[in-house]
């Protein structure tokens, strides 16, 4: 269960279900929030072909340095206004968005990521890596300038 929780993001919004579904599927809305703080998502970089197999593409542009990050995906499920899923063409990660109406102006969005490489899903593996990282820092100190990043 814990393993799953790590790749689920839930947030409740004070807005109707249909509006939230539209926010997640219309460029005019996506451009306002898809890029998090410090990033913009120009409207002309967004492609939303809202049907199973259709393209979902966004390019986030970093405000400080102009570097660009393009996500190319294909929709795998399109069921307005409660369900949406897309498959990232680069990583194979499947993102499922579920919109649950909790009232006329209250909606929960759940983002669930699946088909994530096994090591990311496993709590053991994650814990293992945290431990490993502690050892890595020791290792880095021992290795000296070998592969140490300037901080």
């Amino acid at each position: 269960m814990d393993d799953e929780e790590k790749l689920v993001f839930i947030r409740c919004f004070d807005a109707p279900q249909e509006l939230l579904f539209r926010c997640m599927t219309e460029k005019e809305h996506l451009t306002h929030f898809w890029g998090p703080k410090g990033m913009t998502t120009p409207i002309d970089s967004i492609v939303v072909d809202l049907r199973p197999g259709g393209t979902f593409e966004t390019t986030m542009v970093s405000e400080p340095d102009g570097s660009r990050y393009t996500m190319t995906a294909a929709f795998s499920e399109v069921r307005p206004p409660e369900h949406l899923a897309w498959i990232d063409a680069n990583t194979g990660v499947v993102t499922t968005a579920t919109f649950t109406s909790l009232g006329p102006f209250r909606t929960e969005i759940e983002i669930r990521q699946t088909n994530v490489p096994e090591f990311m899903r496993s709590a053991d593996a994650r814990a293992g890596f945290v431990t490993s990282f502690d050892r890595f820092s020791d290792y880095l100190r021992i290795a000296g300038s070998g592969s140490e990043k300037p901080t």
Binding site: K6, F9, R11, F13, D14, A15, L19, C23, H29, H32, F33, W34, G35, P36, K37, N90, T91, G92, I109, I111, Q113, P117, E118, F119, M120, A125, R126, G128, F129, S132, F133, R135, F136, Y139, L140, I142, G146, S147, E148, K149, P150
Partner: protein, 125 residues
């Protein structure tokens, strides 16, 4: 040794596939303590040397380890930067959705204010 690593999505895929195996993660943990030869790496596992070599090839291809070409026993070396990149991906992804939802909340407030404005105009006119 390179001090900065620019990693493409393809390389990241290779990294994740390499990390998806328990034995390979064990090998990496061992290498985090220092360079080791194939024989040393095989010791904790009930695996044949060819089987371990196969794992090492996957790790080498993914960029997670490098092997000395000229030394007799070709010790394996962990490329820490590459592993950190994979781990950071998870945390960044989590942060991305959190930030994105924050921005969505702001956007919804803007929309509501605007529609309240329109309603006001209509009532006025």
């Amino acid at each position: 040794m390179p001090t900065t690593v620019a990693v493409t999505d393809d390389e990241l895929d290779a990294t994740f596939s390499a990390l998806a195996d328990r034995t390979r993660r064990g090998i990496l943990a061992r290498l985090s303590e220092g360079d080791a030869t194939v024989n040393e790496l095989a010791a904790p596992y009930e695996l044949t040397l060819p089987a371990v070599s196969k794992h090492l090839k996957v790790l080498e291809k993914s960029g997670l380890i490098t092997r000395t070409r000229n030394a007799q026993f070709r010790p394996c070396h962990l490329e820490v930067d590459r592993l950190v990149v994979a781990s950071e991906w998870i945390e960044k992804n989590r942060q991305l959705w959190s930030d994105r939802f924050d921005e969505l909340e702001v956007h919804l407030r803007d929309l509501q204010q605007r529609s309240a404005g329109f309603a006001g105009e209509r009532a006025d006119g």
